[in-house]
């Protein structure tokens, strides 16, 4: 098993980050072309804790290195199952993701947590555990795990840049919305 860990601080409030998180793979993100679709499968608010639980299916363009695709058999797309928990009392968003594709050969479990640093900053903590399950030489398994860790490292940089764009656009959209509402109220008065 290999582990990839990463942490980033965004200069936006937890509320802003948690809203933008739902738009992370939308048109505002020019660094997420590999994400083709994001579908919501289930969503509920826990009546006791107020925690919002969401299940999503994320469909990506296959991005495994070519040699790995030839070892494991390639498909055009790969899919990830994500369960997320928003805890508004503690101000945390926790997202746990698993690969659906090739899950008999590789197990990738990623956990992401967003929590406030202060009123204006939010920390993103990412932790991925990668295990090659296929039988055979340990050296091959190691190579597969290393290749996926490298891919996580590359995507982490793109992920931060892309999300920064979404955060900026989201803040601007909300400011414009507020302005429209205020103008509307002035017109009414």
């Amino acid at each position: 098993m290999k582990v990839f860990s990463n942490s980033v601080t965004f200069n936006y409030s937890w509320e802003e980050v948690s809203i933008a998180n739902w738009q992370k793979y939308g048109p505002w993100n020019d660094k997420s072309a590999h994400v083709i679709a994001v579908d919501t499968l289930n969503r509920s608010v826990d009546p006791e804790t107020g925690i919002l639980r969401t299940e999503r299916l994320i469909t990506c363009k296959q991005s495994a290195p070519k040699w790995l695709q030839s070892v494991l058999g390639s498909a055009d797309t790969s899919q990830v199952f994500e369960t997320s928990y928003v805890n508004p009392a503690e101000k945390t968003v926790t997202m746990v993701s698993h690969n659906l594709t090739m899950s008999n050969l590789i197990n990738v479990e990623e956990t992401v947590v967003y929590k406030p640093v202060n009123g204006k900053q939010t920390q993103f903590v990412q932790d991925a555990r990668i295990t090659a399950l296929c039988g055979g030489w340990q050296r091959i398994k190691n190579n597969i795990e290393d290749a996926l860790v490298t891919r996580f490292r590359e995507n982490a940089v793109k992920g931060k840049e892309g999300f920064e764009c979404v955060l900026a656009m989201s803040r601007r959209a909300f400011a414009e919305e507020r302005e429209r509402e205020q103008n509307g109220q002035l017109m009414m008065a």
């Binding site: 739902w22 738009q23 499968l41 608010v45 804790t49 928990y85 926790t94």
Partner: protein, 80 residues
């Protein structure tokens, strides 16, 4: 917002996503998340998506993944 894996569901998905985001930012984060005003839109979206998942044989994979992720619920939903 993002597309659906099934293009035929894009329209109902978009309507639901917009409703959800409004509810999330204006109600839920402000502590008024009890009512779910997007429920009907979610139903329409799921009706469309269910067919697409079955066609692509993803529904079975999802059932397995759901079974595997039950442990996460007990940790993150703070259930005893």
């Amino acid at each position: 917002m993002s597309a659906s894996l099934a293009p035929e569901c894009n329209e109902v998905k978009e309507r639901y996503d917009a409703c959800f985001l409004k509810w999330y930012s204006e109600k839920y984060l402000r502590g008024n998340g009890k009512t779910d005003e997007c429920a009907n839109m979610f139903k329409d979206y799921q009706k469309c998506l269910k067919v697409a998942l079955e066609e692509r044989k993803i529904d079975k994979l999802l059932d397995e993944a759901r079974e595997d992720s039950k442990d996460h619920d007990s940790v993150h939903l703070k259930r005893k």
